[in-house]
């Protein structure tokens, strides 16, 4: 057994604690500044775990991270890069964490194979390939978890920015904020129509004060929403059209005929109340 021990395995397992320390020292020496963000002591523990797993895997003559033996190590790396991604470390910091393994590893290989130059070269090549595979896997996972975070934030924003509020008995309002694209309009349309049916409201006000620009596509989305609301048997008022947007609409030649538009939400509410037969008055003191 001892005779078959690979050089890589020997490098990883001999005096593991010192190896971890060398690794982390190399990391710090290289100006790696992710330590504070990733939690110092926690990092040492993780590094220790990783070196142990590396030692296990390197027992085979051709360690392969993609294989069945590499599953534990893969998982370890994935957790690590996910934590890094969640804590806001950059991708180069994440990659540097793995690649800084090379220096202490090569130093050990050199010490162990001092007399045999050819064997040293081939072992170093093997080690490089191995560490590169580790690094690539880590970065790939890092990227994936970053994308997941972005996607989740997008979804949250989508839901956050489309609240349907009840202004009065039978009057709903939808204050729209941000740029309107197809998927957002779809969500907006669905939630508004759903609420109209649930509450039996006769009038819906779409307020576009928070929409920075209106182009033909946005106008078309608005027209669709208004038509769908009309099909349900309710009425729709568009409010919050700023002077610049009114100009743009006219310049683009968008036809808003048949749609009630008002400059402000207050005007729209006043009209809605009037249409549903309410009168607002100030009692004389």
């Amino acid at each position: 057994m001892k005779a078959e021990q690979t050089q890589l395995n020997r490098a990883f397992t001999d005096n593991r604690k010192a190896f971890v320390d060398e690794w982390l020292a190399n990391l710090a020496g290289g100006g790696w500044d992710g330590g504070a963000q990733s939690g110092g002591e926690d990092l040492a523990e993780r590094a220790g775990e990783m070196v142990q797993l590396l030692g296990d895997l390197s027992r085979s003559a051709s360690p392969d991270i993609a294989g069945a033996d590499g599953a534990a190590l893969r998982q370890n790396l994935e957790t690590l890069s996910k934590t890094f991604a969640a804590r806001g470390l950059t991708s180069s910091q994440t990659a540097a964490f793995v690649f800084s393994l090379k220096k202490p590893l090569f130093a050990r290989l050199r010490a162990n194979l001092q007399s045999d130059g050819a064997a040293l070269a081939s072992e170093i090549w093997k080690a490089t390939e191995f560490i590169d595979a580790l690094g690539l896997h880590t970065v790939a996972t890092y990227q994936k978890s970053r994308e997941e975070i972005i996607r989740r934030q997008q979804e949250e924003m989508l839901e956050l920015s489309t609240p349907v509020v009840k202004l009065w008995d039978g009057v709903l309002a939808l204050p729209m904020i941000g740029t309107l694209d197809s998927s957002r309009t779809q969500v907006v349309m669905e939630s508004l129509l759903q609420r109209i049916v649930e509450t039996g409201s006769e009038i819906a006000i779409i307020d576009i004060t928070g929409v920075p620009t209106v182009d033909t596509l946005v106008a078309q989305h608005l027209l669709k929403t208004v038509t769908a609301i009309r099909l349900l048997g309710a009425d729709c008022i568009i409010s919050g059209i700023r002077p610049q947007i009114a100009q743009t609409i006219v310049h683009l030649g968008i036809d808003l005929e048949g749609i009630t538009t008002k400059a402000s939400l207050a005007d729209a509410l006043a009209l809605a109340l009037k249409q549903s037969g309410f009168t607002v008055s100030r009692p004389k003191a």
Binding site: V197, E202, L231, L232, G233
Partner: protein, 130 residues
């Protein structure tokens, strides 16, 4: 065809409630039956309740428009009530905006619309349509 959509008469109005999945043949026969019924009863209004309809295609969408304009030609105001949000979105995406079709959120509001329409037409009763 065993399946038929019932057409109920309530006073001056006809009530059509679609409770089953609409298929093309059913829509065509509904149009025919409704036409006859309006003629025989002399109804002044039709309430078309589609609240149970949750899937439409372009044909059914067009039939809804056709039924409503046919009834109007026969002298009966038509109100389509209870359209589901998903149906409304589908119709809009299909480009069927049903211009000229009156809509209401539920049967009660639809009835109010019909009564209001009849009150304004009250003087010229029987003059329109035929």
């Amino acid at each position: 065809m065993n399946e038929r959509i019932p057409i109920l008469r309530i006073g001056d109005y006809l009530l059509v409630t679609i409770q089953v999945d609409m298929h093309d043949q059913l829509a065509v026969s509904l149009q025919e039956n409704l036409g006859e019924k309006i003629e025989t009863t002399g109804a002044k209004g039709v309430l078309l309740d589609i609240s149970a309809l949750d899937i439409v295609d372009s044909f059914i969408g067009r039939m809804i428009a056709n039924i409503s304009s046919m009834s109007r030609v026969l002298g009966a105001n038509t109100v389509v009530v209870g359209m589901q949000p998903a149906v409304a979105i589908t119709l809009v995406e299909l480009g069927l905006t049903l211009p000229g079709v009156q809509t209401a959120l539920n049967a009660e509001r639809g009835m109010d619309l019909l009564r209001a329409a009849m009150a304004t037409e009250g003087g010229a009763d029987g003059g329109s349509g035929s």
